[in-house]
Each structure stands twice: as structure tokens, then as C-alpha cells.
């Protein structure tokens, strides 16, 4: 048996766990750990320029790969800087393990230098957390942390590590467990068969069905099962912001995103449906609009791994708790059996009326049928930028985004055909997420195109990471939609505050982003004419080994539509343009 110090145990456990990257930042409380990494660890460490970026990069890596992202930060300010990224991962159920340094055990509670109660501060935004109190426990705690983070409904796990427990002199037996069991934690392995039968008969009897699928399908690796089931039933599919890519956007059965900025046909299909199959979605307020007016005629089947997500805001008629992949597989099997046993059951062609209604909605206002934005202005339209991006990357890129109008345009106009390509902070809505998340994805898939769609506001929240990209050669493409405003804030001020732009205007304070990028040793391209857009973007993506910052000047006054009418609106109540509403 091998004897290792606490620091060495951590380094070794990262290897034994198969970790591919550690995103971190050193400081006093974690110096023993960093020394152990330096001496022996085979896992590469990415030194970010701010701990928030470490968490977002780990998160982007996790979203793109499905494997937990790993973060290492020091105590005090290192730990608190990581909080926003932990909360971001928590809200979107992203697996992550955060190792945070802590002051020496005997100093805890004494307001020691760089002491902060990390377990207390992070408690509401973690799936679980551990404070290590004995060095011998480190391997098992790390194994448990990875298991908890990545099983059931995934989420971030924090391990707080007092400095004395990692010191190089005290060595203990190291034995990395192959498996751990927790008596108090057993995520459901299968859905209840009786409930699945009930769901099957409801679905087979539906006249106006719709599948409403969320991020749980992506995180639960159930895209394939969803596709097979939807095609077998000929049901229309709509995605939440988090679900995009789980069902192929280019498929005819896909209605686009639903919700606040959802597609007209998707929101209407929901509103008029008689049966909703909700899969790995949580009836978020950005989806439902006013709960009491939500889909008045619909019976709801709700599949989720987390019982607490079911009937939280909207009551389910048939709740099914279980992993979405296995439940969908079982559901499909039952549906096939039932159809075989009873040939009088309606088949896919029985939805003809429903589909012609949906196609009518799609023709009237669908965003992909023809441009719904005003092309009479002299500006490049932000929608055109995303359409061009999708074209140039053949719809196959990993696309992260920040938060704002650009994010909604990316969600509406980039047609994701694969899951785990759309990397986006949906739950917390964290500006500053985009660039580090793209870095995590690019590190995981160095040969793939990785783009960060951002705004001149959001990008400045983690722009320092251009330096990290220079150090580790991470050639992501930054597609910055420059509108000179905190555009989404401005849109709300236009619509609800009579155009009083309280603190949403930059005036002449913005940097020259091309020069700024060049200062970091990267390439910057400024685009102001639509005629230059596609060529410039092709050039950017042709530069495989360069980080390219595309500073694209777009219509400063564009709004995102459709937009739910709120408060008191239903799913189908929408603004369709600045002047037109349902």
C-alpha cells in the first residue's frame, strides 16, 4: 500500500478518476496541493485569470462532454469568486466538483486570513458539500463527490480542504475506491411501470399532442430515445432554451424553442394541446407565462429524474420519476405493444388535422420560413449574424452564449441538430459565462469549431480570459454582437419604461475590441457591412489556430420577438414585432 500526503492524494485521485482538465487558480491555502500537482500529476491544469472563469470553463467542458468539470481554488476570495459559476451550474444541473482550499483546521472560526465559510456560502447552490476533517478520508470523499455530482439529477459538489490536511509530511495509505455507496442517496433507476402504461394510453388517445423537452434530455443522454419516440408517434417537439439540440432542429417535427422568446408555432401548439409530454423540463416561469392560464386543455405527463421538479409549478396528471432515457425506452416499448394488441388504436396519420393547424401557424409567423425581421434598415441584423454563423459552421459548431438579446437570437436562429452543442446559462442567466464555457468545450474537442456568441456588455465580464486562451492556445471564435447597449435591458426599457434608458447605454466608453484582442496576441475582425459578413466569418473559421474576435456592429434598436406578453398573459399571448401582437 502506498503512502501519500493529502495534496498527493488529490493529485492522484484526479488521475484515478479520469479527469481531463483541472481549471483553477492558486493561493495560500492550496499551495500544498499545487506543489503535488507540479511534482506528479498527469492531469493538465488550466490557469484561468479569474476563479469565476474556472467554474464556467469547467461547466462548459461538462456540458459539452457530459463528464464532471473540475475546479480548484484557494480559500476566501478564491472560493467566493467561484460562487457565481457554482450557482450557474446548479441552476442548470451540470456536474461539477469544486475543490476549495480552507485555512488550517485550528484556525477555522477565528476570522483567519482568507477564511470564509465556503460550505455556508455555497450551501444553497450545491447538490452537496463536504468538509474534510481527516486526511485519510480524502480519497473516499473525492469519489463520493464525483458520484453525487454526476448521478441522478447532476449538480455541483464542493469539497472544502483545510490546508493542514494537505501538508506534504503527513502521509497515509491511499486507496481510491472503485465504487461508493451512500445509504441516503439512491437515484431512481427505472420509471414506475404502471405510470408508464397510463402515460402510453394517454399519448395514444391524444388528438393535439406536443412533446415539451428540456435540458434533462441533454443531461440525461436521452436524445436518441426522444427522437425514436417522437418519430414513432409523429408528435411535434418543442424545446426549452436548455433542451436545444436534443431533437434535431432541421427535422420537420421540430417547432423551435418555446417560452418567453419561443416560436409562435411552438407556443400555440402548447396552448392548444390536449396532451403534453414533458420530458426533463421543469415548467420554468420563462416557459409557462402565467401559470393559471397555462395550456388550459392539456393533460400533462411529466417525466423527470427529480421528484421535486414534478408538480412544482404546474400539476402533472401522470408523474413519472426516473432517468429519462430508460423511461422513454420503456414508454416506447409499451406503446408498440399496445398498438400491436389493438389495431383500432389511432396511428400516426390520425394527427393530420393537428399538423395542418401547426403548419398554418408556422407559415404565418415561423422564424425559419422566411425573415420576420425588418431588413429595410441600413444595419446588419443580429439575426443575420446567427444565420451566417450557422451556415458557415454547417450547424455543427459548439456554440456557447452569454446573456442578452444575442443569446436569444442564437437560440432562435442557430439550428442545433445535436445535443451538447448549445452551451448556455439558462437558469441563472449569467453574463460572463460565454467565453470561459467556450474554452472548456474547445479544450475537450480541439478539432471542433467552437463559437462564443456574445454582446459587448457580456464579453467584458470575463474578457481577461483572452489571456488564458493565449497561454494554452485555445482558438475559440468570439462572435460579438455590438449594439452599443445592454440590449436586452434596453428592450425592456423600450417596452415597459417608455424608452428611459437608465444605465443601459455605453456612450463612448467602449474599447476598440480589435485592438484589445490584438493586445492579447489574437486576431480581431471588425464588420460593419452585411456584404462583408459571410466572407469575414469564413475567414475567421478558416483560421483554425487563431482565436478570432469578430466585432460585428448590428442594428442598435432591434428587439427579440416573439415575446410573451406579461404579466397575466398565457402561452399564446405574444408580441410578434414592435407593432404587432397576437
Amino acid at each position: 500500500m502506498e503512502l501519500l500526503s493529502g495534496g498527493e492524494m488529490i493529485a492522484r485521485a484526479m488521475e484515478d478518476e479520469g479527469v481531463e482538465f483541472i481549471f483553477g487558480y492558486p493561493g495560500g491555502a492550496v499551495l500544498h496541493i499545487y506543489d503535488a500537482l507540479f511534482k506528479s500529476c498527469k492531469v493538465p491544469h488550466i490557469l484561468v485569470r479569474h476563479e469565476q472563469a474556472a467554474t464556467h470553463a469547467a461547466d462548459g467542458y461538462a456540458r459539452a462532454t457530459g463528464k464532471p468539470g473540475v475546479v480548484l481554488v484557494t480559500s476566501g476570495p478564491g472560493a467566493t469568486n467561484a460562487i457565481t459559476g457554482i450557482a450557474t451550474a446548479y441552476m442548470d444541473s451540470i456536474p461539477m466538483v469544486v475543490l476549495s482550499g480552507q485555512v488550517m483546521s485550528h484556525l477555522i472560526g477565528e476570522d483567519a486570513f482568507q477564511e470564509t465559510d465556503m460550505l455556508g456560502i455555497s450551501r444553497p447552490i450545491v447538490k452537496h458539500s463536504f468538509q474534510v476533517s481527516r486526511t485519510e478520508d480524502i480519497p473516499e470523499i473525492i469519489k463520493k463527490a464525483f458520484y453525487i455530482a454526476s448521478s441522478g439529477r447532476p449538480g455541483p459538489v464542493v469539497i472544502d480542504l483545510p490546508k493542514d490536511l494537505t501538508n506534504p509530511h503527513d502521509k497515509y495509505e491511499y486507496n481510491y475506491p472503485k465504487k461508493v455507496k451512500l445509504r441516503s442517496y439512491t437515484p431512481a433507476a427505472r420509471g414506475h411501470s404502471g405510470q408508464i402504461k397510463k402515460a402510453a394510453s394517454l399519448l395514444l388517445g391524444a388528438k393535439r399532442p406536443v412533446i415539451y423537452a428540456g435540458g434533462g434530455v441533454v443531461q440525461g443522454n436521452a436524445s436518441e430515445q426522444l427522437r425514436v419516440l417522437a418519430r414513432e408517434l409523429n408528435f411535434p417537439v418543442t424545446h426549452t432554451l436548455m433542451g436545444l439540440g436534443a431533437y434535431p432542429a432541421s427535422d420537420r417535427q421540430f417547432l423551435g424553442m418555446l417560452g418567453m422568446h419561443g416560436f409562435y408555432e411552438a407556443n400555440n401548439a402548447m396552448h392548444h394541446s390536449d396532451v403534453i409530454l414533458a420530458v426533463g423540463a421543469r415548467f420554468d416561469d420563462r416557459v409557462t407565462n402565467t401559470c393559471s392560464k397555462f395550456c388550459p386543455g392539456a393533460k400533462i405527463v411529466h417525466i423527470d429524474i427529480d421528484p421535486a421538479a414534478i408538480s412544482k409549478t404546474i400539476a402533472a396528471d401522470v408523474p413519472i420519476v426516473g432517468p429519462v432515457d430508460s423511461v422513454l425506452t420503456d414508454l416506447l416499448a409499451v406503446i408498440r405493444e399496445m398498438r400491436q394488441a389493438d389495431s383500432s388504436l389511432p396511428d400516426a396519420s390520425s394527427l393530420k388535422h393537428w399538423w395542418s393547424q401547426i403548419d398554418e401557424w408556422r407559415d404565418a409567423h415561423g422564424l425559419w420560413v422566411k425573415p420576420r425581421y425588418d431588413i429595410s434598415t441600413p444595419y446588419i441584423k443580429p439575426q443575420q449574424v446567427i444565420e451566417t454563423l450557422c451556415k458557415v459552421t454547417h450547424g455543427k459548431a459548439y456554440v456557447s452564449s452569454d446573456v442578452g438579446q444575442h443569446q436569444m437570437f442564437a437560440a432562435q436562429y442557430y439550428k442545433f441538430d445535436e445535443p451538447r452543442r448549445w452551451l448556455n446559462s439558462g437558469g441563472l442567466g449569467t453574463m460572463g459565462f460565454g467565453l470561459p464555457a467556450a474554452m472548456g468545450a474547445k479544450l475537450a474537442f480541439p478539432d471542433a469549431d467552437v463559437a462564443c456568441v456574445t454582446g459587448e456588455g457580456s464579453i467584458q465580464m470575463n474578457i481577461q480570459e483572452l489571456s488564458t486562451c493565449a497561454q494554452y492556445n485555445i482558438p475559440v471564435k468570439i462572435i460579438s454582437l455590438y449594439n452599443g447597449y445592454l440590449g436586452m435591458v434596453k428592450q425592456w426599457q423600450d417596452m415597459q419604461y417608455e424608452g428611459r434608458y437608465s444605465e443601459s447605454v455605453y456612450e463612448n466608453s467602449l474599447p476598440d475590441f480589435v485592438k484589445l484582442t490584438e493586445a492579447y496576441g489574437h486576431v480581431g475582425i471588425k464588420v460593419t457591412q452585411l456584404s462583408d459578413l459571410e466572407e469575414a466569418m469564413k475567414e475567421a473559421f478558416a483560421r483554425k489556430n487563431d482565436l478570432v474576435f469578430m466585432d460585428i456592429h448590428v442594428d442598435p434598436h432591434e428587439h427579440v420577438y416573439p415575446m410573451h406578453i406579461a404579466p397575466n398573459g398565457s402561452m399564446r399571448d405574444m408580441w410578434l414585432s414592435k407593432t404587432e401582437r397576437t
Partner: protein, 163 residues
């Protein structure tokens, strides 16, 4: 409706703060709370009372179950159960009041556990509403201090909450 939720959880540092934090984070209220070790030193038992409609109570139990430290829980109010709370009350007791308070204590099957020249300290146990009635009977004017343990409960019959 008032519910008594009894939780078996890992006897780990931080476990209690997760439960209490959940309630404040999600806007649920806690009426009473108590927690102590069980016959198994690795487990502690937490009992809390809360008020809410069925939807809220369902959410509370689901979210409690989601906590990794929570091993098992039961909503005791769903079945027949025994509920107890212990209360210590210090009352001003002088002159004719001394006999009156003594009588009242007997009626409620309480005990006078400490006696001073002008005060009694009384112990009363029972369901929460019995303790409320006792306080009412003694009267606000006489009461100097009230300490209540919070509700404990256990199911009747064979049913047990254990591993």
C-alpha cells in the same frame, strides 16, 4: 394544515444547517424544530412542525428527501401518532396565587420542579395544544418565562422510522 415531519438524517456536521437552510431558501416556515441523536450514533432524528396546504407539504418532503444527508422521513400527521412537547414555565406565585397555580398544575398533570419564595417553575408535557391551554389557564400576568422543547412525535403501532 399543521404537519409533523420527522426526519432521520446522517449525524454529520452541516446536516442541520442544510435542513434549516432549505426552509428559509424556499420560503417554507418552521413552527418548531428539535434534533437529537438516536440509538444509532451515526443517525440523528429531527422533528419539525410546519403549516401548509398539501402542495406545499409535498414540496417540503420532496426537497428534504433530495438532501443527501436525509436518510428517511415521515409525515407523522398522515397516520395516527403520538405527539409530545416538554415545557418549562416560570411563574410569579405569591399569596393566594400559590395554591391556585398548584391546582392548575395538577389538572394539567404538570410538576412543580423548582420553588422559590415568590416563583414556581413548572414542567408540563403533552401535545402542543395542551401546553397552550396551560399557559392560558395560568394567565399572561403570572408568566415570567416560557421554554418549550418543540414537538417530538412517533407513529402508533408497529410502524417505525429506521434504516
Amino acid at each position: 394544515m399543521r404537519h409533523i415531519i420527522s426526519v432521520l438524517m446522517e449525524n454529520e456536521p452541516g446536516a442541520l444547517s442544510r435542513v434549516v437552510g432549505l426552509f428559509s431558501q424556499r420560503g417554507y416556515n418552521i413552527e418548531t424544530l428539535n434534533v437529537a441523536p438516536t440509538e444509532d450514533p451515526t443517525l440523528s432524528r429531527l422533528t419539525l412542525t410546519t403549516i401548509g396546504d398539501d402542495h406545499k407539504i409535498e414540496q417540503i418532503t420532496k426537497h428534504l428527501n433530495r438532501l443527501i444527508d436525509v436518510v428517511k422521513l415521515v409525515d407523522l400527521s398522515e397516520g395516527s401518532h403520538i405527539e409530545r412537547e416538554l415545557m418549562l414555565v416560570k411563574v410569579r406565585a405569591t399569596g393566594a396565587q400559590r395554591a391556585e397555580i398548584k391546582r392548575c398544575t395538577d389538572i394539567f398533570r404538570g410538576q412543580i420542579v423548582d420553588v422559590g419564595p415568590s416563583v414556581y417553575t413548572i414542567q408540563v408535557t403533552g401535545a402542543a395544544d395542551k401546553l397552550d391551554s396551560f399557559l392560558e389557564a395560568v394567565g399572561e400576568a403570572a408568566i415570567m418565562e416560557v421554554v418549550r422543547s418543540g414537538v417530538s412525535g412517533i407513529a402508533r403501532g408497529e410502524k417505525v422510522l429506521s434504516l
